[in-house]
């Protein structure tokens, strides 16, 4: 009986993540809210608060956030095997679609019309990235905190003008993040001590 239930659980986990990845356009920021809808509202397997924690956790780890969140859901429902199943469900659709597309691309890239369309799209993609950077940068600036703004400007100069390796920039800003957190925790402890 129990093995039967486990089988259904695995199948549902796989099907849910597979279809979400297969039919959702727009990347992680669109897929994750749909995962929330699926597992919290439709299936009722995870409660709202826990799901929000899982989403925050998924964004705290490196890598694609849709993949991270799917791993967390799988792990939460069925441990390591569950995580393996959901990660497979998430990466299989792109793997199939993009492999097919890669061959179509090679076949038609030199076609004059395809070339015109892609040339037009280049300007669109440039605008999308500029828009993304603007939105993300604005979120940092409106906090009006000195350290993040300083880190952003320093990384911008180091990355664009001096072409410093990305890994150094991440290490440097990660250390600053760690130090600020330690400082903040100490500060909070002091405040509590005074009370």
């Amino acid at each position: 009986m129990e093995t039967m239930e486990k089988k259904t659980l695995f199948i549902t986990l796989f099907k849910s993540t597979f279809f979400l990845s297969m039919f959702t356009f727009g990347g992680g920021y669109v897929i994750v809210p749909l995962m929330e809808k699926k597992f919290v509202n439709e299936l009722g397997w995870i409660d709202e608060d826990e799901m929000l924690d899982l989403i925050a956790l998924g964004q705290s780890a490196p890598g694609p956030i849709a993949v991270n969140t799917s791993i967390l859901i799988g792990y939460r429902m069925a441990g390591v095997p569950g995580a393996m199943i959901t990660v497979l469900g998430t990466i299989l659709p792109p793997l199939m679609i993009m492999t097919a597309l890669a061959y179509i691309y090679i076949a038609v890239r030199d076609n004059a019309i395809v070339n015109s369309v892609l040339l037009g799209m280049q300007a669109g993609v440039a605008a999308i990235i500029v828009n993304v950077v603007y939105n993300m940068g604005k979120r940092i600036v409106v906090q009006k905190k000195l350290i993040p703004i300083f880190v952003m400007i320093a990384a911008l100069i180091a990355g664009i003008i001096y072409q410093v390796n990305i890994l150094w920039l991440l290490l440097f800003s990660g250390i600053i993040g760690a130090l600020t957190t330690i400082w903040k925790l100490r500060h909070e402890e002091d405040e509590e001590g005074k009370k």
Partner: protein
């Protein structure tokens, strides 16, 4: 051995992209264009365009597609596994500690610290993408004679549609692709 190199490159890309698909862009640029020399600026933009146009996580799309471009079907599989592998390990470790201690303040603090740098890195990949779209390449010095004026107009239209009407990336790509197909075919 190309597959091993590809695997290591994409493990690096997966391991250091903090903040979703766009955060992988500067790493893909650094590793695949500059360090390994596997793809050109143009291919980089094509990869990004096609990854935005298709369903699924953008970083996975980009990994499968570039792996395929570099080393065929197996290359695509290897790149996809590589970009996913760090997530599979790190996320489960994080989940384990989270369910045990219900506290990941330190991890979140570090991520907070990383965010401004990640924005700057995406901006630097954005400069490459922008210049390539406008000039056909991003190498200094840029010659004003190479500037593509049609591209500037498309760029302005796209930005306007996003800021004013909140157009989604996929809508932008369809519109600019359609405009490109018409305008460039006639000039």
């Amino acid at each position: 051995m190309i597959y091993l190199k590809l695997l290591l490159s994409f493990i690096q890309i997966g391991l250091f992209s903090f903040g979703g698909g766009y955060a992988a862009l500067p790493l893909i640029e650094q590793e695949l264009i500059h360090v390994q020399g596997w793809i050109t600026n143009q291919q980089f933009i094509d990869i990004l365009t096609l990854s935005e146009m298709t369903p699924g996580p953008i970083a996975i799309n980009a990994a499968t597609f570039s792996g395929n471009q570099i080393a065929g079907i197996l290359g695509g599989v290897v790149a996809t596994v590589g970009v996913t592998l760090p997530s599979v390990i790190i996320v489960q470790l994080l989940a384990y500690f989270y369910f045990k201690y219900q506290n990941i303040t330190m991890v979140q603090g570090i991520i907070q610290g990383l965010r401004p740098a990640v924005v700057a890195l995406i901006a630097s990949a954005g400069v490459t993408i922008f210049l390539t779209a406008m000039f056909g390449h991003s190498d200094w010095p840029l010659d004003l004679a190479e500037l593509n004026y049609v591209s500037i107009v498309f760029f302005a239209i796209a930005l306007f549609l996003m800021r004013k009407y909140k157009a989604s990336p996929i809508q932008i790509i369809i519109v600019t692709g359609f405009l490109g197909g018409i305008v460039y075919s006639f000039i």
